[in-house]
């Protein structure tokens, strides 16, 4: 029983890792007042660029760095549309998702052709920073990026709630007019938020191709970006609750995998669909009365 629970918690952390990155990335965007539906595409692009550059450079860390830079570029593109041009955020975000997925698939086909077996790399290994605790060995045996994701949660909280930058960022999502009146550039803050957010989203995607899978496949993100959009509402736009949301989804996902293996008497697709259904239900229960940043979806126009 202990072994089962510990391996379940360990798997939960692994599944939650890309979601923590993605949702924290979206948190930056939405707290600044921009809904970035480019998240699914940005994660996909991060997974592809990370994989490609890691293969060419033969360094996983350079691949990760390239993915983060690519994600920041994607965030900048979203900023051009939503901040400078002030166009509809739903449509421009979905457009960026379609563009980045198309671009990744086009490049992948051009570089790697149509191999029967998808190309792979030797992925990040899991490491244990706390060796010597007998029962908990499997729990601490995680990818370095999982520890980074867990460390990011308090860091983002501190940045948002304990620094001037965070105060301004939150203010720009609530009342951009007041921020502007205080002599602070709304545009610069929103650009910054989207750029940081894009980098985090892409890191989440790269975790999948460079860590968990060690390969790039067409279904690598499979709606995880949309799950992040749901988690942020579930989390009431708060970084610590983001962690709980990601762990909930990760937990249900890890549990369904184990139920599948245990051979429960249901088609395995039922279990695969379970985390998505649980997310919708959680949203209906916990999302009620959640107040989105007041200026979300509202482009700022200085007259």
């Amino acid at each position: 029983m202990e072994v089962f629970v510990i391996s379940l918690v360990a798997a939960t952390l692994r599944v939650a890792t890309p979601l923590i990155f993605g949702t924290l990335g979206e948190l930056f965007a939405e707290r600044a007042g921009i809904l970035n539906l480019g998240i699914e595409g940005t994660m996909f692009f991060g997974a592809f660029v990370g994989f490609w550059v890691a293969q060419v450079s033969e360094s996983l860390w350079i691949g990760l760095l390239a993915a983060v830079l690519a994600g920041m570029a994607a965030g900048l593109l979203m900023a051009v549309f939503s901040v400078t041009l002030g166009v509809n955020q739903h449509v421009s975000g979905l457009g960026i998702t379609l563009l980045l997925i198309g671009l990744s698939l086009f490049s992948f086909r051009l570089i790697f052709g149509e191999p029967r077996v998808p190309p792979s790399i030797r992925p990040f290994t899991q490491l244990n920073p706390f060796p010597g605790i007998p029962l908990l060995e499997p729990l601490f045996e995680q990818y370095a990026l999982t520890y980074v994701a867990l460390a990011l949660v308090p860091m983002v909280w501190w940045l948002l709630y304990r620094t001037d930058f965070g105060l301004r960022l939150r203010a720009v999502g609530e009342n951009p007019e007041a921020v502007d009146a205080a002599g602070i550039s709304v545009f610069r803050l929103r650009y910054l938020a989207l750029t940081i957010g894009g980098g985090l989203m892409a890191a989440g995607g790269a975790f999948l191709s460079l860590g968990q899978l060690g390969a790039f496949t067409y279904g690598i993100i499979a709606g995880r970006g949309w799950v992040c959009i749901a988690l942020i509402i579930f989390a009431h736009w708060h970084p610590v609750r983001v962690l709980w949301g990601a762990l909930l989804f990760g937990g249900v996902f890890a549990l369904q995998l184990r139920l599948q293996i245990a051979g429960a008497d249901l088609p395995y697709e039922t279990f695969l669909a379970l985390p998505y259904v649980v997310t919708i239900i959680a949203l209906a229960i916990a999302g009620r009365g959640a107040a989105a940043p007041a200026a979300l979806l509202r482009p700022y126009k200085r007259e």
């Binding site: 457009g95 198309g102 949309w226 697709e269």
Partner: protein, 362 residues
């Protein structure tokens, strides 16, 4: 001297030029990808835009490719017009495809005059049912419909996978695809020696009806009012919740028809890849068509041309067909930018006196 973006309304002759300008910029931007694939961009555009229309067979194929896109475009435009962000046309299409397959496997030996209307009605209802939970959550619990419609797109793919690996797995081939639907449920062809089928007429009729509903009925008026501003619409005595419910369900039904059309007109059985993202392309089409039925028809046919063209480019020049996806997304983004920028003017001007004064004081 410096450049400044100033806000000023566009002159009257700019608006009709926007699609042309957007198209030219899109092709300039995507030319780099064709060059990367070791092909000549001009040759690439020839295969993209001209070659598909150069002979009868491939010109008709453009209409075939447009059929599901016209339907998903109409579906999305119908919901967006009422301010309901249905991003779930993809899932609702699959719901329609499942219903069509079930009816197609059941209605053996029935007259086509009964079977085909039942297919259309069944697919419409299935699309409505898949669109129901998000809109119900939206109007009862105020749950954001974007998230729920997107998540349900993932859920229905698992349902399709379950059906194709379980009860509907083709017993003859053993592949994860359903057996063929009954002959009576197959859509009739519209032309000899071509794949064009009844679905295209259905799509055209849906777009015609959509024009009528949006511009000539009370429902259309309330929908557009709700789309422009729910608060103002409520103040004017419009039942916004009921309007959203109606718009969302009809939108889901139309997307369901796209699924029926692909099963009964093209594939004749259910496969997992029945839609390579037609529901998402519908968002591109609805936006390019400015949520206007005639605009949706033009945009749907044009994207059908790009879909056909991208396969031509792939076959003739070895450029990956995903180029078509990139072109569509780029066209969407460039059009959005052009529409926004038409109200700006780039001015070359000296810093004005007030700014100079402020600079001196600082």
């Amino acid at each position: 001297m410096r450049f400044r973006l100033e806000r000023s309304p566009a002159p009257y002759w700019v608006r009709p030029l926007i699609p042309v300008i957007a198209l030219i910029i899109t092709f300039l931007l995507t030319a780099s990808l064709i060059v990367w694939a070791d092909a000549n961009p001009f040759e690439g555009y020839y295969y993209f835009l001209i070659a598909p229309l150069a002979n009868r067979v491939s010109a008709i194929e453009v209409l075939v490719k447009s059929t599901p896109l016209l339907l998903t475009g109409a579906s999305v435009a119908f919901a967006f017009a009422a301010g309901y962000w249905n991003i779930g046309a993809e899932g609702q299409l699959y719901a329609g495809a499942i219903a069509a397959t079930w009816l197609g496997l059941t209605l053996d030996g029935v007259s086509p005059f009964i079977a085909i209307p039942l297919m259309l009605i069944g697919g419409f209802i299935a699309g409505m049912l898949w669109a129901l939970p998000p809109v119900w959550l939206k109007i009862r619990l105020n749950v954001d419909e974007i998230v729920t419609t997107l998540l349900l797109n993932s859920v229905i793919l698992f349902l399709v996978s379950f059906l194709l690996n379980g009860p509907w797995r083709d017993p003859i081939s053993g592949w994860p695809q359903s057996p063929e639907i009954a002959a009576a449920t197959v859509f009739p062809k519209l032309l000899p020696r071509a794949r064009l089928h009844l679905g295209f007429l259905v799509a055209m009729m849906v777009i015609g009806l959509m024009w009528y509903v949006l511009s000539r009925t009370r429902l259309g008026l309330t929908m557009r009012a709700a789309g422009l501003g729910p608060e103002a619409a409520r103040y004017a005595g419009i039942n916004v919740k009921r309007t959203l419910l109606t718009a969302a369900l009809i939108s889901g039904g139309i997307a369901g028809l796209a699924g029926v059309s692909e099963v009964a007109g093209i594939h004749f059985h259910l496969i997992e890849a029945i839609s390579p993202g037609y529901g998402y392309t519908g968002i591109v089409i609805a936006t390019l068509g400015a949520l206007n039925p005639i605009g949706v028809a033009i945009a749907g046919l044009f994207i059908g041309l790009i879909e056909t063209g991208s396969q031509n480019v792939s076959r003739a020049l070895g450029v990956p067909a995903y180029l078509g996806d990139v072109v569509q997304a780029t066209l969407l983004l460039v059009t959005l930018a052009a529409l926004a920028l038409q109200n700006f003017r780039l001015r070359l001007r000296a810093p004005d006196a007030a700014a100079e004064l402020a600079a001196e004081e600082a």
